[in-house]
Structures are given as C-alpha cells and as structure tokens.
C-alpha cells in the first residue's frame, strides 16, 4: 500500500460571479512508504492546495485522495491521525507559549496520553536542540528554531506521513542545512515525507522523487537524477592537473561551449549535447588529468526547461 495515492484530483475555487479558478487539474500521484517526495513548481502552481488536501484542510472538488490507505473525504479523522503538517515561517504556532506548551496542547488534540506526550516531548526537545529554550515563548525564536518547533509539533503524535510546506523558506544557510539533516534522519526512521519547496538544491539533496507542478498539472515525475539525464541540456565536465596544451585541445573540440581554467590547473568544460561528452573525456584521459567528474543538468535546469519563465506575471 502506498503512503499517498492521488487519482484524477481536481480542485476548483469558485468565486461569486466569476469563473472558478482551477488550482489542481487531474493530478495523479503515488508516493511510496519511506519516500521523500518533492513538489516543485512556481507560486500558484497548486503545491499548497495539494498539501492542504492531503492533510484534510481542504476538500477535493473531484477525484480520490488516500493517505495511508484512508480516504481524505470519508475517513478524514483516520487521515489526520497519520499525517503531520509542517508549515514554514512564523505562522501556525502560539507565539506567547513555549515549545513545550505548544507541543503539549497539540498532543492533547491528537489524543496522545499525557505520560507518552511528556516522554516524547522531552526526547524531541533534546533531538531538536531546543532543551535550553524549552520554556521560552516561541515568539522570541529565530526562523531556524521556529522551524524546529514546527517539526517537533508535528512529530509529537508520531505520524507516519509528514507534509512539509516550504519548510526552509526564509532560513539562513546554516539553519537550512540543519533542517535538511533532520529530514534525512526522519527518512532513515521510516517516515514518508512530502515536501513542497522552491529550493532545487534542497530537493536534489533530499528527495527520492520529485514532481513538477505548473498551473495545477503535473508536468513530470521522476527521481531528480533521471530527470536531469533526460534533459538534453548543458553538461559540465571538470578535472584537475590539466596542462595548458590539454586546455587548448579541449577548446578546439566541436561542441565545447565554455572552457575555464583556474590557477591550480582545474578545468571546467561545458558541452550542450550528450555526444560531445566522450571526446572531452578522451582528451582528459590522454592528457593524464585527474579527478575527472561529469555533471548532468540539475533540477534547476529541468525546472527552467519545463516551466516557462513568466517573470512577474501570474
């Protein structure tokens, strides 16, 4: 049984005297247990709407959505027992209360027995590095700490599925790295994680599979590496200990768009077609270059290829 199964999901927001806005248009999706699945796409693509439907906050207009085998419409209560929603930013917490009090309230709402809740809260405070601030109001916390409080709240009830809605938005790089480490730990603990994000590097690092959404439709779903390989875009080849003569040979090759060398003899070559990679590798091997690496297009390139740049228009 999949952790999340979405079939022909459609969500239309109707407004008075105006045609309805189609937020999700025929979404089919399957997330296996233990996966970290990324939802990528521009603002307004439908990521948040999908996250809200999965966590029972919104009802679908049509289609079926099952989480841990339960239908989000007819078995909403069972779904809620299996899902932890993690919002990004300062919203969603009682700012005047401490992490401990926020989590205690949530545990009661999830009908977690008080004794179990106390033990779990104590261990979460330690795991998330919040012990020293456990009894301070969360309104005094930094963005990174708030995110840990959000995550801790969702984990108090120990749900098997976590839905993270732009979890690292606005975080500084260190906080974001720390948060990603936590997500990796949760995956190792067997949690299924669905993560809506704008951060392609984060998705590349964490997600076993990603789906690109635009205007309420899924454009592609696959693992990040395969999506990159399928794209006939720029590939980079890098190597060290490259002699100047070898650099000249590389520059002369057809298909080499860019060739940069730094003072230490490291060269980075850019090619646009797959068939141009082999001649470059052959030259580097002949010239005894070391530490030869190739990199295909990343999710950012896939994103820019799949989703048209609308600049500031919606």
């Amino acid at each position: 049984m999949a952790a999340i199964e979405v079939t022909a999901l459609r969500r239309v927001f109707t407004q008075r005297r105006r045609p309805g806005h189609v937020a999700l248009d025929g979404i089919d999706l399957r997330v296996e247990r233990g996966e970290v699945f990324g939802l990528l796409g521009p603002n307004g693509a439908g990521k948040t709407t999908l996250s809200r439907i999965l966590s029972t906050l919104l009802l679908p207009t049509s289609g079926t959505v099952r989480v841990a085998g339960h239908d989000v419409v007819t078995e909403a209560r069972a779904v809620r027992s299996c899902v932890g929603l993690v919002l990004g930013g300062e919203r969603g917490l009682y700012g005047r209360l401490s992490p401990r009090r926020n989590w205690e309230y949530w545990a009661a709402m999830c009908r977690v027995p008080s004794r179990v809740a106390r033990t779990r809260i104590a261990s979460l405070l330690a795991e998330l590095g919040l012990e020293s601030r456990a009894d301070e109001p969360v309104e005094t916390f930094s963005r990174g700490m708030l995110q840990r409080v959000h995550l801790g709240r969702a984990l108090v009830a120990d749900p098997p599925v976590l839905i993270l809605d732009e979890p690292t938005s606005g975080m500084d790089p260190n906080a974001a790295i720390g948060f990603r480490r936590l997500v990796e730990d949760l995956q190792a603990a067997g949690k299924t994680i669905l993560m809506a994000t704008h951060d392609m590097a984060e998705a590349e690092q964490l997600c076993t599979r990603v789906a690109f959404l635009d205007r309420g439709r899924i454009l592609a779903t696959d693992d990040p590496e395969r999506l990159g390989r399928a794209l006939d875009g720029v590939r980079t080849i890098s190597a060290t200990h490259v002699a100047p003569a070898a650099v000249r040979r590389l520059e002369a090759l057809p298909g080499v768009g860019e060739c940069t060398v730094d003072g230490s003899g490291k060269v980075v070559v850019g090619v646009t077609r797959r068939e141009d990679v082999s001649p470059v590798l052959a030259v580097l091997a002949e010239e005894n270059a070391r530490d030869i690496r190739t990199a295909g297009p990343g999710l950012l390139e896939v994103y820019r290829t799949l989703i048209a740049d609308r600049e500031f228009s919606l």
Binding site: L85, L87, R91, G92, E104, W106, A108, R111, P113, S114
Partner: protein
C-alpha cells in the same frame, strides 16, 4: 488523560496561559470599577438603600460580562485565524471544535471576579457590599449569566469569520443589548415589539434572576430556568455555526487568513 476531557483540560490551561501572557486583553474588566463608581455616584445624593446599590452593582457586573464576551472571548477564533494556528489545529484528529468552545467559555468566565470588584467599590464608596439574600441561587444565577455570555461569544465568533464587517457590528452589540436585556430600563417598560424581542434574549432573564436571588424575591428560579434554556439554545446555535465555519473553511469557501 485522553479523550474529550483531556482536550478540555488542556484547552483551559492553554487559554489561561495565553491570557496571562497578555494581561492587556483583560483590560476591559479593569475598567469596570469606573462604571460602578459612576453608577454609585449618580445615586449618592439620594442616600441609596443597600438593595438599590446591589441592583446597580449587578447591572455593572452583567455589562462587564457581556462586554467581555463580545470584545474578548469572541476573538479567540479570530486570533487563531490570524496566527495560522487554526490551519494547523484543523488537522488534529479530533477535538478542535471542543477545544474552541472550551477556550471561549474559559475567557468568558474570567469576568467572574468583577462581582468582587463591585462589592469592593460598594464598600469603599457607601460602606456596604452586595447584599445577597439567597447565596446559592445567586451563585447559580452568576453561572447562568456567564454561560449565556459565553454562548453569545460563540455565536459572534462564528459571525466574525463568516461575515465581512462583523467587527463593525461589535459596538452595536453592547449598549443596544444592555437596553434590550433590561439593564438600563426594566424590560417590561420597553415598547411593544421590542419587549417581545427582549423576552427572547437570555440576558433579560439572567438579570431578573440575579436581582431576584440578591433580593430574595419570588420567581427567581423561573427566570433562571428561562435564561438557562435560552443560553443553551444560543450555545447550541453557536456551536453549530462554528461547525459550519470549519466546514466552509475546508470547502475553501472562507479564507484561512483574513
């Protein structure tokens, strides 16, 4: 403790902590002694009896309780929406509606100490506190009054989410309702039409019941019964409205954020 009782207990604790961390939200209750001073001052020249002072003091108490329900308790949901906690809490397996109702009642009940404020002001200004002839009946009357105010806050809190501009209406829910509830004039002296409306308002009977319990006059229990029935009816209507609000939020017909 789990289940509904657990949710209720944690909700009371949580709401009290939220209030204690922003005492400003109780400011309207601190203004109450000023009302009492004005009322007592207005009759001072006429050497008022202890019964009259008690009646005036109870009027001030009911005004404070209703005002507190309208301006503070009804905002529990509004604050949930504003802080984004409503969004998260709606994903809880059960109990959010129970929690909201309990929290609104908790805030309303915080108006109870106003009774003591009234008594203290009476002692300081006229040398007499509240004269209560039937204490048990009076205690029940105070509870009925607070329960009715909480029911009113429940109804209003749903309206604040559903109806745009409901905040503008809040001011209209105080003085006209004091008049309607027989706080300013006895309700039997209200004009035809308005009196029937007043009869359907719990506050009318709660105030009668409070005054009867204090004076030991007959008919107090009947008034309290009527007040309790009307409070239960408006509490049920308020809870149903909240349920509807939560459903409309899930349908996407009402926005999570204002």
């Amino acid at each position: 403790m789990t289940g509904v009782a657990g949710v209720a207990i944690h909700s009371v604790r949580m709401q009290l902590r939220l209030v204690l961390r922003r005492l400003g939200s109780l400011a309207p209750l601190l203004i109450n002694p000023l009302y009492v001073v004005v009322f007592f001052g207005a009759v001072a020249a006429h050497r008022p009896s202890a019964e009259l002072l008690t009646s005036l003091g109870l009027t001030a108490f009911v005004m404070a309780a209703w005002g507190h329900a309208v301006f503070t308790a009804s905002h529990v949901i509004d604050e949930e929406r504003f802080s984004g906690t409503m969004e998260v809490n709606l994903t809880a397996p059960a109990g959010y509606l129970v929690s909201l109702v309990v929290r609104i009642v908790t805030v309303t009940v915080l108006a109870a100490p106003v009774i003591a404020e009234v008594a203290v002001v009476g002692l300081l200004t006229h040398g007499t506190g509240l004269v209560i002839r039937v204490p048990f009946q009076f205690f029940v009357a105070v509870l009925t009054c607070l329960a009715g105010c909480a029911a009113g806050a429940l109804l209003l809190s749903g309206l604040l989410v559903l109806v745009r501009g409901a905040r503008t209406l809040q001011n209209a829910l105080t003085y006209p309702f004091y008049l309607l509830g027989g706080l300013i004039l006895p309700h039997f002296s209200l004009p035809e039409g308005l009196r029937q409306l007043s009869d359907a308002f719990f506050l009318t009977w709660a105030v009668e019941g409070l005054r009867a319990a204090a004076a030991g006059s007959p008919g107090g229990w009947r008034d309290l019964g009527l007040a309790a029935a009307l409070a239960v009816a408006s509490g049920a209507a308020g809870t149903l409205m909240l349920q509807r609000v939560l459903l409309r939020l899930r349908r996407g017909e009402v926005r999570f954020h204002d």
